[in-house]
């Protein structure tokens, strides 16, 4: 099937097998490697992207379902994403970095829909993404700093 998606502001048009997952389409077909795969059951959130503004696990979506959609990944470089990245750096919110794309996107989506979240709301907002390294506190502090 032929699909068209707009990723980080750029339109791509490709033929895909109907069974291909969006995460594999982004990684293998478009070469967007910042979208990561940490599980095969939809639990880790490493593959989180924004699909029409909503955070989704791209391993739970077929590429064909994203036809016509606007996708944002951690490579997106607007002012909010930049602020988040700086805060992640300053607050030591990443260790191995494997969850970081997912964390940035979950945080980005949260701040877009709720520019002044409480700590509880931040915890809730990033709870779809697992981090095995940081214990989460510095990620939460980074999101607060980026508000």
């Amino acid at each position: 099937m032929r699909i068209r998606v707009r990723v980080n502001g750029v339109w791509y048009e490709r033929d895909v097998e109907p069974r291909k997952l969006l995460v594999h389409f982004l990684r293998d077909d478009l070469g967007i490697k910042s979208v990561r795969v940490g599980c095969d059951t939809g639990h880790c959130g490493a593959c989180t992207v924004l699909l029409n503004g909503m955070p989704v696990k791209s391993c739970n979506v077929l590429a064909v379902q994203a036809d016509g959609a606007e996708i944002i990944t951690a490579d997106y470089g607007d002012e909010l994403m930049e602020r988040l990245k700086r805060a992640f750096h300053e607050r030591h919110a990443l260790q191995c970095g494997f969850c970081t794309s997912g964390m940035l996107l979950a945080s980005y989506a949260l701040l877009r829909r709720n520019p002044k979240p409480t700590e509880e709301e931040i915890r809730e907002g990033i709870s779809g993404v697992l981090c095995r390294c940081t214990g989460y506190q510095n990620i939460i502090e980074a999101v607060k700093a980026a508000i």
Partner: protein, 729 residues
């Protein structure tokens, strides 16, 4: 300006945040093939026949390797599979999706055998024997004895006997295992998600029977390891072998469910013991055995049991000990190191014993520890471990003050009046870090900057930043003039990689000494340039009114105007060192459901010099959550036939942000330096060690507060259903 001691944000971050990150699966080589493994559904079975003909006829399939492929693939050694998920064949295909199709079409004839998953049952006569050549499931047993435990027990006021169980855990770094290998007819290039690139290189060369020079291992960015990427797995060897056989790049990346089948598991130790103590709370003797649930192959089980035994006495005075270390084969994936590797278990066991003594004597848990602690190091424990430096009694006191332990207890009492059930637990730990040699090369670059190549292999810990701080201070230059590289066996010297909380201490000390030596060399060159003895400070050599900058000396040497060594290499032998401290956990219990939530982790750690407090605190946060999570959330479950009932994140619970506590680490104000040039002792595992022991006590404390009854928890994890039952008993 000094860098050591300052909370400098990580230099590694830029590359991870701004599109530079390359984890194993992000690397693509032209013409690369995908490998996958056919894995046994049975926990124990004879492999009669593997039929790959249908798979081989499928589109995209390049090759199938089976037990008939022989060594070094080495599928089903001895004609058997010994755990559910053990690989029996390997398919190589041109595409990920076609690979998964083909894996379904490899047919294996199994003759199922009875399995044993409980190590205690595995030791009983009549249990299915996993390794027939041993004739028993007891892989190894060794006695560790000191003093006269029997006599000390009989002269104790009280003797208790019980069993403490730490179930297995899954290390579960967020990036699963994976490897990509390519062979050019002469050299194997292996990208590997590993903690130990040089060890992988050695193992591959040995298994494939090629010279070391024919193997280059590159560690890309690694998405966590926690000990599970120390082992060189058969999969790594097989992928390299396939790449060599096919002369095409071959990549294998485990799915998470596959990772749960093949990774080494952590913890998995049992202490069966008798302990004797006096009426006034002094521990006199321990007699018993530490049993490792080693899994199907004893890769590391015995190591873990023996570490747990030798660190069991901790910093307590008890010297009458008689404890066996035993590793027992079971039909499970092999046991391996997991953050702390034997020390969390030792601490868990001995701190459970201290809590028991407190309960039995009615003494305060802190007071029991105070009465048993050795005053200070140097101290040689009964098994010959030489604790290098530290004040244990004073450290306990400072830890209790810094963590506000008694305030937390008072707060828990007053919250009770408001209808909340909190529990507070503390632990005192001492642990051993640092072993082996480590290597560093410092090279002066033409622009006056310095490259530090290290044999450690950090993957999230931030050691590159820490080492840059150390080297910048040693050379008295700004940190942005130091670049630290690692992880490529072609470019960095042969080190042992990253594990055991040793990287900054061993690797950093090697780097400091290499920098010192290089500076001496440059000083000689500077003296030749100015024609007299020079003093060095802050990047400049001075002699009277003459001065030459370090960059000018290097530049002159690169242009051949002055003779100088521009590179220095140091091999550093690193002795063990012993961090210690106090961990406190506060939990909240929901008496309706038995669910427990961690609220707070506070710690006081004497880990020697803290090179970078920002990064050290980060280690405390993440390490504490792993320790707490082991007790509250993470549960590896097998059914009676030996099927893994928790095969991935859908069933095995890794805590989310909503389930994590606050962390408030404190580091000793006047830390006891290690004798290493860095003065550091290591911080990566300390919090995991302290937190698990404190967490289980916190749960007990919460149950006591809810029911008014003393309870004794003997198993980690503590399941909510057990708490629920205790609440209603």
């Amino acid at each position: 300006m000094k860098h050591v001691g300052r909370p400098i944000p990580r230099l590694e971050d830029y590359h991870l945040l701004y599109g530079g990150a390359r984890y194993l699966d992000d690397i693509e080589l032209p013409g690369q093939l995908y490998a996958g493994f056919v894995r046994s559904p049975y926990p124990h079975a004879r492999v009669k026949r593997v039929d790959a003909s249908e798979a081989l006829s499928m589109p995209g399939v390049v090759a199938v390797f089976t037990p008939q492929s022989g060594r070094p693939f080495d599928f089903a050694p001895g004609g058997k599979v010994r755990y559910q998920g053990e690989a029996v064949a390997m398919v190589v295909a041109a595409d990920r999706y076609l690979l998964y199709d083909a894996l379904e079409k490899v047919y294996v004839d199994y003759e199922p055998l009875p399995a044993v998953v409980d190590p205690i049952k595995a030791m009983e006569p009549g249990a299915p024997v996993i390794d027939e050549s041993l004739g028993t499931n007891i892989a190894k047993r060794e006695k560790y004895a000191s003093g006269d435990a029997e006599r000390a027990l009989s002269s104790s006021d009280r003797v208790v006997e019980e069993e403490l169980v730490i179930e297995r855990t899954v290390p579960a770094p967020m990036e699963p295992h994976g490897v990509l290998a390519a062979y050019d007819g002469r050299t194997l290039l292996v990208y590997d998600s590993t903690q130990k690139p040089h060890i992988v290189r050695r193992e591959i060369a040995k298994s494939l029977d090629v010279p070391l020079t024919a193997v280059r291992v590159v560690q890309p960015d690694v998405g966590g390891g926690f000990g599970s990427k120390i082992q060189v797995y058969p999969e790594e060897i097989r992928v390299a072998t396939a790449a060599m056989a096919l002369r095409r790049p071959v990549k294998w990346v485990a799915t998470r469910s596959e990772d749960f089948k093949m990774t080494t598991y952590g913890r998995g130790l049992i202490l069966r013991y008798k302990a004797g103590f006096t009426r006034d709370g002094v521990l006199k003797a321990i007699k018993g055995e530490v049993i490792a649930d080693a899994g199907a192959y004893d890769w590391f089980g015995f190591e873990l049991a023996s570490t747990a035994v030798t660190m069991l006495p901790a910093a307590y005075k008890v010297r009458d000990l008689d404890v066996d270390a035993v590793s027992v084969l079971t039909n499970k994936p092999p046991l391996g190191p997991y953050r702390g590797a034997g020390r969390p278990e030792a601490t868990f066991f001995i701190e459970r014993i201290m809590d028991l003594i407190a309960d039995e004597t009615g003494l305060d848990p802190v007071e029991v520890r105070r009465r048993n602690l050795v005053e200070a190091a140097p101290y040689e424990n009964p098994f010959g471990m030489s604790y290098d430096s530290g004040e244990y009694v004073a450290g306990l006191q400072r830890g209790i003050e810094a963590t506000g332990y008694y305030d937390l207890i008072r707060n828990a009492e007053s919250e009770r009046a408001r209808g909340r059930t909190l529990g507070v637990g503390m632990s005192f730990y001492i642990e051993i870090t640092t072993y082996g040699h480590e290597v560093a090369i410092v090279r002066a670059e033409r622009d006056g900057s310095f490259t530090v190549a290290v044999g450690i292999a950090p993957h999230g810990q931030g050691d590159a930043t820490g080492i840059a701080q150390l080297v910048a201070d040693e050379l008295q230059i700004p940190i942005d003039k130091v670049r630290v590289v690692w992880g490529d066996t072609d470019l960095v010297p042969d080190g042992l990689g990253t594990d055991g909380s040793r990287s900054l201490t061993a690797g950093g000390s090697a780097a400091v000494l290499a920098a010192r030596r290089l500076l001496d060399e440059l000083k000689k060159a500077a003296e030749a340039m100015v024609g007299g003895p020079v003093e060095y400070s802050n990047g400049t050599f001075r002699s009277g009114d003459k001065a030459v900058s370090i960059a000018e000396v290097v530049e002159a040497a690169y242009r051949g105007k002055v003779k100088a060594q521009l590179e220095a290499m140091e091999v550093y032998r690193a002795k063990a060192t012993y961090p210690y401290g106090v961990g406190v956990v506060v939990v909240e219990l929901d008496p309706e459901t038995g669910l427990v939530k961690p609220l707070l982790y506070r710690s006081y750690d004497d880990v020697g010099v803290v090179v970078n407090p920002l990064l050290a605190a980060g280690q405390i946060h993440g390490g504490a959550l792993q320790g707490i999570s082991q007790v509250l959330y993470e549960d590896v479950v097998y059914d009676q036939e030996g099927n893994l009932a928790t095969p991935n994140f859908a069933f095995y619970h890794i805590p989310k942000a909503t389930e994590a506590p606050r962390y408030e680490p404190h580091f000793a104000e006047a830390p006891h330096r290690s004798e290493h040039p860095t003065g550091t002792k290591g911080v990566g595992e300390a919090p995991t060690i302290a937190a698990a022991a404190a967490a289980i006590k916190a749960v007990e404390d919460a149950i006591r507060r809810a029911t008014g009854k003393k309870v004794r928890l003997r198993r980690s994890p503590v399941r909510p259903e057990e708490i629920y039952r205790l609440l209603r008993e």
